[in-house]
Symmetry: C2
Subunit: 413 residues, 2 copies
């Protein structure tokens, strides 16, 4: 079954807001076995919506729109639906009652304009919205399903996950999809392919995709079968094969992030971590603390951007910087050791590098970066030769440092 | 004149990559007076491209595609172009020669597959690509312009900025557009509107939009006129009016960022800055050092995630934390003062808060955050009541701290 996504909103089509909703919806649809063939974005204009809705209903089995369901005059998605499906709007007391109660709980009188939110096209069913006032609208007609969702990401995501996903899954018995992502890091796509391709045998209905990002390359395995179990059975041998040929580079699956995986390892081993950052300026600490509950293992760090800060705050000897430079194996090692001592942590990670665009030399071009680690047992650093883009270099250096620690804790050479 | 953008790529349509190219292109087109009415994303399938290209050529004056121009078999945009325009591919020696030279300069033999990159549809002109092998393709026919660009963002952006923008500008004499964005921070959209709306008189051809983000609300003023000067003249009085009613909240224009503006202020005044971060975990330091050349004013910081780190590293008195808590005005003040002393900097900023999702209480709900400042003259802190989302709270706290410093330096109350 094919799906089509339509994004409604002037801000999207004018480029002032990047659309992330359609990516979320497409991935959700994939998990219930629907393939998105077209995505279209249009402004808040009824005639244009009508045209795009009609085209989509001709070529897709399931059409999902987001945006334009608010109570004010510039939200016109419902107007377009009414025209395309030739139906009247009908008042739903239960929707208004629910909204009234929610306002009452917060001690606020419901603005009268919310009456509009209780009007739905005749014959439509609705999906409740836990985070906002616009319910999801669902019209099934002549074997096609049309679903309109609000454009606020948190609202769309809740309805999509809790309501639309299960609904669509129920609709299409007879085909199931299993998607598993294996996240690798510290190895480039072409090298991974060299390891994987020679012996790879993909069973019928199974696909493998390589998806590179700053954090590393994700291997996405998609299996289609008759039932959930069948789809999972097709995927399983491929996952086992991938684990066997490149398992040491795989740090996690699906929703795992490298920072959360490393955090869990620290927690499981009852260890603490501190960081010493130069070129990343706090980016590694920020990434580590993006995980809720990071305080269980992350104690803090020093942002040592200047040479003086490295010397005075991290006790790096001035001779080390004079002799080898602030971007050197020796300095990265000393930063990690100094940081570990300062915070009395079990581990410390350090990063020092030339992020660019300026600051490079023949000897140490932009991208030259050292990551260091200190623990009770060891103190060492590794050189990275990154690229020319400041943002990418800083992100990649952070992930490389996290991977250094993961390998140290798991004793992977 | 209307424009349409078509994004080609399986990864985009399946939702595994978020499309940012179309937003960039739409904004570039706006500056030359073209309005995007439709955006469509499709996978790498020739038939689907043909259908979408044909539809776009019917309803738009300018069609821009990105993606599918690589040299390998799964890049099929050129195949679809050849079918839609019924033209053969012609070999361009000058394109291949240029590629050969670029490889030679890097000391690498050019892979033979790059021959494909020198094939263009008959009668097409091309836009050179400084960062990659796929040139931009331009076909003008029957008053319509069709432009195909590579999908790699850095390559697309360079060609769009250096080549396509000026080309389209030349095409459509007789209408000019001036877009100016004024960036505000520290004030919500509804309050801004209350200040602006009463006396606002928009001249003919001028629009005002409110665009909220974590960093604040941007006021975008768009003026259309017969010439560049005419468009600029229409916009000017609106900009003056906005400056007069909410100037103290405006930190910059167009490509300005708050971190770069604050950095420039420090540089201009020959002052240095250090940061002490708790809940943001290094995010403020990272933001400050995202500006190339930040080492001129940013010396470093302490990530004091635990109470011990606040006490031992920043010399916050244990009594302060015991009495008022780590998330308090007193603690934020002490963190900033301790940090300034430690780094011997002119200014220090501090952030301590409850980012969520856990850790809130009746008294201090999730979102409660204090930002502090220390200088030679003063030491104070401000309370922020942020929301419930960890990511948003951390980003907003960083911007609020930067704004605290901007106002302190400029002596804005």
């Amino acid at each position: 079954m094919d799906a089509e996504i339509i994004i409604v909103g002037d801000e999207i089509v004018s480029g002032y807001t990047v659309d992330t909703n359609s990516a979320f919806i497409a991935r959700q649809l994939e998990t219930v076995g629907l393939t998105v063939k077209y995505k279209t974005a249009i402004g808040d204009v009824v005639e244009r919506m009508e045209e795009v809705f009609r085209t989509a209903l001709k070529r897709a089995d399931v059409v999902i729109t987001t945006g334009g369901l608010g109570p004010t005059d510039d939200d016109v998605t419902k107007k377009a639906i009414v025209k395309v499906f030739k139906r009247n709007l009908v008042f739903h007391e239960e929707i208004l009652e629910d909204l009234r109660e929610r306002y009452a709980r917060r001690g606020i009188k419901m603005p009268a304009i919310n009456q509009n939110q209780a009007l739905l096209p005749q014959g439509a069913t609705f999906f409740p919205n836990k985070n906002g006032s616009a319910v999801g609208i669902c019209i099934a007609e002549q074997g096609r399903v049309f679903i309109a969702l609000p454009g606020v990401p948190a609202e769309m995501q809740q309805i999509m996950t809790d309501e639309v996903g299960p609904y669509l899954k129920g609709l299409k018995a007879g085909q199931a999809v299993k998607v598993t992502s294996l996240h690798t890091t510290g190895i480039v796509e072409s090298k991974l392919a060299e390891m994987i391709t020679p012996q790879l045998k993909l069973p019928a209905g199974v696909r493998l995709a390589y998806l590179p990002a700053y954090s590393g390359v994700t291997l996405r395995v998609t299996g289609v079968g008759e039932t959930d179990d069948d789809a999972a059975d097709r995927v399983a041998p491929v996952l086992r094969y991938l684990e066997s040929v490149c398992g040491s580079y795989i740090y996690g699956r699906d929703d795992d992030t490298l920072e959360a995986v490393v955090g869990q390892l620290l927690k499981d081993n009852d260890k603490t971590l501190a960081v010493a950052e130069s070129c990343t300026g706090g980016g590694l600490g920020m990434r580590l603390t993006s995980v809720p509950g990071a305080s269980a293992y992350f104690v803090g760090g020093v942002i040592a951007y200047s040479d003086d800060a490295k010397i005075n705050r991290l006790a790096v000897e001035r001779e080390v910087i004079d002799k080898y430079g602030a971007v050197s194996e020796e300095c990265a090692q000393a930063m990690a050791a100094g940081c570990r001592k300062l915070f009395e942590s079990d581990f410390a990670l350090s990063i020092t590098g030339i992020a660019g665009p300026e600051g490079g030399s023949e000897d140490k071009p932009v991208g030259t970066t050292y990551i260091g680690l200190a623990s009770a047992h060891s103190n060492y650093a590794r050189k990275l030769s990154l690229g020319r883009t400041r943002e990418a270099n800083r992100a990649r250096a952070g992930y490389a440092a996290l991977e250094l620690l993961r390998r140290d804790i798991l004793d992977i050479k």
